[in-house]
């Protein structure tokens, strides 16, 4: 979240006080492996997530909820926890692997929930409404859920894996005009941007076409991958299909922040590829033209290592 989804993090941090939260980052978290690690090998992929869960359980001070903002992280953490509960052999193997790093995790110890779920169901729409000082009146919002948050959703937290409405309701609570977006849970292209870009472009185009058909001003997402694909690849998709969509894509937390009266820059607005200014002008918000300058890093305090060389097959 600190990187490509920085605006997501910024906006979340900005609104956390409004909704009475104090968030703690899992110390030294590692990547969940997305859909890639498990494609290569199975057990290590579960161990990877097991480590995050174990770290979270260690760090939990009476708190037992891990909030995931990204749909892949959410899915992978929840799935690891669930499969470990259900499959005794997997549980034993993951824990044996974790033991090599001095860790242990009892499945079920932490609850893995997505940000949107907790905001709507724990904080509540009424509490959100009370915080609204700048209603998003007149802004036509296309709520976009994507795949992995609402599916498979074994605990039915989002109401429907096919046609959920909780993001719709949240946006209505903020005063926005919500489009009944028929492709709200379709795929953003996922990793196909890397594997076969034309396939991804087509998936992106379908979403943009529908949003355009429904005359949405802006699309809201709840996953960094979706945001990245729709925003950063929108231009490529346009080139590929000779279209000229300019559909701004923002995180739902950013719109919450705006409705709560925060400064656009504080919410990371202006870092998008597709200009959000025309859309947000409808609610009287001015988006900073230039992104806030990133602090330049010197090599010295950089903890990074040089890039590994690719493994060449054959």
């Amino acid at each position: 979240m600190q990187r490509s989804a920085r605006p997501y993090l910024d906006s979340l941090l900005a609104i956390q006080q409004d909704i009475g939260w104090e968030l703690e980052e899992i110390q030294d978290w590692n990547c969940c492996g997305a859909t890639e690690y498990i494609s290569v090998s199975r057990l290590p992929a579960y161990a990877l997530n097991g480590r995050n869960l174990a770290l979270a359980a260690q760090q939990a001070n009476g708190v037992n909820t891990v909030l995931a903002g990204c749909s892949a992280c959410y899915l992978n953490l929840a799935k690891t926890d669930r499969y470990m509960q259900k499959d005794g052999r997997l549980n034993a193997q993951v824990n044996e692997a974790l033991a090599a790093g001095g860790l242990h995790y009892d499945p079920g110890t932490v609850k893995i929930r997505h940000l949107l779920d907790v905001i709507v169901h724990k904080v509540g729409l009424e509490a959100v409404k009370r915080k609204v000082v700048r209603p998003l009146t007149g802004l036509r919002v296309a709520p976009y859920y994507g795949c992995m948050v609402v599916r498979p959703d074994p605990e039915n937290r989002f109401g429907s894996p096919e046609y959920p409405t909780i993001l719709d309701e949240l946006m209505k609570a903020l005063g926005a005009e919500v489009v009944d977006f028929p492709v709200k849970t379709h795929c953003c292209g996922g990793h196909m941007t890397q594997i076969s870009a034309p396939v991804a472009y087509e998936l992106i185009r379908r979403l943009l076409y529908a949003a355009d058909q429904y005359q949405a001003d802006i699309m809201v997402t709840l996953c960094p991958m979706c945001q990245l694909n729709l925003d950063a690849y929108q231009d490529d998709a346009n080139k590929h299909f000779r279209t000229n969509y300019t559909m701004p894509i923002v995180y739902f937390t950013q719109l919450m922040g705006l409705a709560f009266g925060h400064d656009p820059a504080e919410l990371g607005l202006g870092r998008e590829f597709v200009n959000t200014a025309p859309a947000l002008a409808k609610i009287g918000v001015e988006v900073p033209e230039e992104p806030a300058a990133a602090r330049p890093r010197t090599r010295r305090d950089d903890p990074s290592l040089p890039m590994p060389q690719p493994l060449l097959k054959k």
């Binding site: 096919e162 046609y163 009944d180 379709h186 076409y209």
Partner: protein, 676 residues
């Protein structure tokens, strides 16, 4: 334990070869010899092994021994009791021995057919025989139960199955009480336009039957009514029926229809018109309703809501409107009950990807039936939700909510045929291009596949694939404004997107929403899905495990009209047989409470699923009604005072059988006990 002095009984043991079925694996002669030698102390006086015990010669052998040797107990070691128990019991009865003193133990299904080691099988057969011998000592002479049958019958549910059953019984001169929840009988069939595969008009074939039932001298019709209480047992049930107030005096009403003409309140009719049409607050569901009297629906009637209006009352020429009418409870006595309560249609909203309830031009099968029906809201015009436009492209989706573990994992049986019917009707009336999307085409039964051929001929396009989604989200301008059916054409191996104007969802059949409560009320069992369970799926499909309760039609599982009618008639035939005989004979497998030992703790009262145990407050003891008791034995096992005994399966019989099975050394066991 086996050291008693003088055996009380004289027992004969007969070991059957069953040709080579048993003899090939079990040394039958050895078993017979062994039984005579080793079970002599238990009272075995004679043993035989014989080629076929069930043959007339075999049976005569038993009869002769009973007479000549004075046998008081008989054990036959042969096949399963489910096959020949009756045969050997009858043989004993012929020889003057109470049939329940004969025990058949299985050494074929449970020994020779399932084991291959001859020695081990022979030893096990000996143990099984010993179990039977120990058990039979404690068998008691019993008489079958005889229960008189009241000649009247209750039929619950006035759909086609219930109507058929009621007519069969009434036509043979017996009283029938037909109870229907809605204001008219007719059921789902009354909503249909045409019936497959012959395309008869549903009303044309159903209405005469409804009229017959309505006017039959032997049928008392209770519409707008429900059964609220069932007491008693086979032969003599006492049933309480609640008749909801119609607010119409049916003695005065002529069914002229002025009331519903004058009623100012229009209500969406979501029962009969499946939500597509309107009715008034005072209404009959449809023109041919039986009985012809309307009902006032107090939830929508202006007078009931705010005390004003009474238009119907003003205009009624016979003063039949009675706003002060109250519900009535009627009690009837019947000997048998036929349940024909039918099905509910699967709610297609539960499959969100098909968009029903969200996308205007997605229709359910029942809605489509109403669209086609000449008496329906569009006078039989097949039009889109705007009420005007004829569709040019129509999709029919099979298996909606059926064959799907997310909803119902069974096949709803009728949907393939009704989907074909829809395709045919659309073609015939609009000339539209029709696509049918199916997983497997199931057109079993007479003339059904011929109908499929006909629909193929007519040019309907069949796509083998379960539809993934129906959406209005166009991807290309050519799809704009259409509903797009997205599917894998599994035979072509490609994903297809087919734009259409109208989608018809062939929703499956589900048990009534209150099926479990109804099953409980009548003391019968239903499957996990909620379909009522028949006594035997093949050989006794309309009886239930509860004596005197029969089932007919879709209440037992999805089925089409011919099958429902057959079941209605079959259930009536079963009931008629009993009425004609005047009584039924029941197996004497029953529990009895010895009042002397009953402590009145009432533990057994709540355990009985058939409410057969009554508690006498005065004497503080419980008693079991033998006509209600089905002999499961749960109370026997639970009684802390040991006051309940179960005939045919008494504690003594089972305990002794255990001892018998484990009586002698364990020959199959090579390592023997050593004292700890």
């Amino acid at each position: 334990m086996n050291d008693q002095a003088e055996p009380k009984e004289r027992i004969g043991v007969y070991v059957c070869h069953c040709g080579s079925n048993i003899a090939a694996t079990v040394d039958v002669a050895d078993v017979a010899v062994w039984a005579k030698e080793r079970l002599g102390d238990e009272g075995v006086v004679i043993t035989h092994d014989y080629k076929f015990m069930c043959s007339s010669l075999g049976q005569e052998l038993i009869e002769r021994d009973i007479k000549e040797e004075g046998l008081t107990r008989v054990v036959v070691a042969a096949c399963s009791p489910h096959l020949h128990e009756k045969t050997f019991r009858t043989a004993c009865a012929r020889a003057g021995l109470n049939p329940y003193l004969c025990e058949l133990v299985s050494i074929r299904e449970q020994v020779s057919w399932v084991h291959s080691d001859r020695q081990a099988a022979t030893e096990k057969a000996k143990a099984v025989v010993a179990g039977g011998v120990e058990r039979v000592i404690h068998n008691e002479p019993l008489e079958p139960l005889h229960i008189p049958i009241h000649p009247a019958t209750l039929v619950v549910g006035g759909g086609i199955a219930g109507i058929q059953a009621a007519l069969e019984l009434a036509d043979s001169g017996h009283q029938v009480y037909l109870v229907e929840r809605e204001p008219s009988i007719g059921g789902h069939m009354a909503q249909f336009d045409k019936t497959f595969p012959t395309m008869d008009c549903a009303a044309c074939i159903l209405t005469p039957k409804m009229v017959d039932a309505g006017g039959h001298p032997h049928i008392d019709l209770f519409t707008w009514s429900e059964v609220v209480r069932v007491d008693g047992f086979v032969g003599n049930f006492t049933v309480t029926i609640r008749q909801k107030p119609r607010y119409i005096d049916t003695d005065l009403c002529t069914g002229c229809g002025i009331c519903w003409e004058k009623c100012p309140k229009r209500v969406i009719d979501d029962v009969y018109e499946a939500g597509l049409g309107y009715r008034k607050a005072v209404y009959t569901p449809f023109a041919q309703a039986v009985p012809k009297y309307p009902v006032i629906d107090p939830e929508n009637c202006t007078y009931f809501i705010n005390g004003k209006c009474r238009a119907c009352e003003k205009f009624c020429p016979t003063d039949a409107i009675k706003f002060d009418q109250e519900e009535e409870f009627i009690t009837v006595q019947v000997g048998n009950i036929i349940l024909a309560t039918g099905f509910d249609l699967f709610d297609a909203r539960r499959v969100p990807q098909y968009g029903y309830g969200r996308l205007a031009n997605v229709f359910t099968s029942l809605e489509f039936e109403r669209l086609c029906n000449a008496a329906g809201p569009t006078n039989g015009q097949i039009v889109m939700r705007d009420g005007v436009t004829k569709p040019e492209l129509v999709a029919v989706i099979h298996c909606v909510g059926s064959r799907d573990r997310n909803y119902n994992n069974y096949c709803s049986v009728i949907c393939c045929m009704s989907s074909l019917k829809f395709a045919h009707l659309v073609k015939e009336r609009t000339g539209a291009r029709v696509y049918n999307f199916y997983i497997d085409m199931r057109t079993a039964f007479k003339d059904y596949d011929e109908f499929y051929q006909r629909v193929l001929e007519e040019g309907t396009i069949f796509v083998r694939g379960r539809v993934a989604e129906v959406t209005d989200a166009a991807r290309l301008p050519s799809e704009d404004g259409k509903l797009i059916v997205q599917v894998e054409d599994t035979l072509a191996g490609r994903q297809r997107r087919i734009p259409v104007d109208m989608v018809i969802l062939s929703a499956g059949l589900e048990p009534r929403h209150d099926a479990k409560a109804v099953a409980h009320q009548f003391g019968i069992s239903c499957s996990a899905n909620g379909w009522f369970i028949e006594r035997h799926p093949k050989l006794d499909p309309v009886a239930t495990m509860t004596e005197g309760i029969f089932i007919a039609g879709t209440v037992q599982g999805p089925k089409d009209i011919p099958a429902s009618v057959s079941q209605g008639a079959a259930a009536a035939a079963r009931v008629l047989g009993r009425i004609n005989k005047g009584e039924i004979e029941l197996e004497p497998v029953r529990a009895t409470i010895d009042a002397r030992h009953c402590s009145g703790c009432r533990i057994c009262n709540g355990l009985c699923p058939f409410n057969a145990i009554i508690f006498h407050e005065d004497a503080m003891v419980s008693e079991i009604n033998h006509a209600l008791c089905q002999g499961c034995g749960t109370c026997v096992a639970a009684c802390p005072a040991g006051a309940i005994s179960g005939s045919s399966f008494s504690n003594e019989q089972i305990m002794s059988q255990i001892e018998g099975l484990l009586l002698f050394d364990r020959p199959v066991r090579s390592r023997h006990f050593s004292a700890v």
